[in-house]
């Protein structure tokens, strides 16, 4: 049975990082590999930071929402959404590590290398980054077979 989890907050550096941190803490109930959890934490931190830096203009703080769907012993999917500027550039961007001297621009490359597939879409006013990764059976905690739906919505993800 699939498990769904959701958390929303403001697109500030602090709340974006907190949303990623809480998502990974939740994943830790199901996944038994600290290495894989670090990968998920990095991918989600990049995805959420991307919203903070690119989605909203400097004088406007908008919303950020993270949804997770776990299919225990099979895969994890993430949806990171915002209601800011459409990221048309990212729709066709090729992930690339860039030059060693670059001081920015590695987020997409990091995300692309940590998941199996990802995509950017825009539905109405909503921009969505979707990522998915298959997780092999042996990396799941054995007790995580029950169905569950968790939903937390908070304008202050630090609660």
């Amino acid at each position: 049975m699939a498990v769904e989890w959701r958390l929303a907050g403001w697109a500030t550096p602090e709340q974006a990082r907190e949303i990623a941190r809480k998502a990974v803490a939740y994943l830790g109930r199901y996944i038994d590999s600290s290495d894989l959890l670090y990968d998920f934490e990095l991918a989600l931190t990049e995805a959420c930071a991307n919203v903070v830096v690119h989605a909203y203009s400097e004088d406007l703080i908008g919303s950020l929402e993270l949804r997770m769907r776990l299919e225990p012993f099979v895969a994890v999917e993430f949806e990171i959404a915002n209601w800011g500027e459409p990221f048309w550039g990212l729709l066709q961007a090729e992930p690339c590590p860039g030059s060693p001297e670059d001081e920015s621009g590695r987020g997409l490359y990091i995300m692309a290398n940590l998941v199996d597939s990802f995509s950017f879409t825009r539905k109405g006013e909503k921009n969505i980054l979707w990522m998915s990764k298959r997780v092999k059976d042996s990396l799941w905690k054995r007790q995580s077979s029950s169905s569950e739906t968790a939903s937390v919505t908070s304008p202050t993800a630090e609660s």
């Binding site: 550096p13 990082r17 990095l42």
Partner: protein, 114 residues
């Protein structure tokens, strides 16, 4: 909780950073370190990352920026004992070879080792 200790001895700036090196902290940290570098001419910057538990692309950009700044002035920059997490992120973006990394004082030049 993040913690930064900055010490200057004999023209070398030693920074020990504990915590997460992410978008949350990089601007402020960069300001602090650059101010320390300006206050006393430092020919080398040694950044101890042994207690840095998380590094994202903002943190990478911060480290690249410090490296460039030091090199531009003919100075040197070392990552000292980077944690497993720091190494993992740097490896992912193929930057392990880009930085000068020291795992012990013996691997630092004699004039820099504390």
């Amino acid at each position: 909780m993040e913690k930064t200790v900055i010490e200057q001895r004999n023209g070398v700036c030693y920074v020990t950073y504990s915590g997460e090196l992410t978008l949350e902290v990089t601007s402020q940290l960069k300001e602090r370190i650059e101010q320390a570098l300006e206050n006393e001419h430092c020919r080398a910057l040694v950044m101890d990352l042994s207690e840095t538990v998380f590094l994202d692309s903002s943190g990478i950009g911060f480290l690249v920026s410090l490296n460039k700044k030091m090199r531009q002035n003919d100075n040197t920059f070392y990552l000292y004992r980077p944690s497993t997490q720091v190494r993992k992120t740097l490896s992912l973006v193929k930057l392990l070879e880009y930085f000068s990394i020291a795992e012990s004082e013996e691997e630092l030049p004699e004039e820099i080792a504390g």
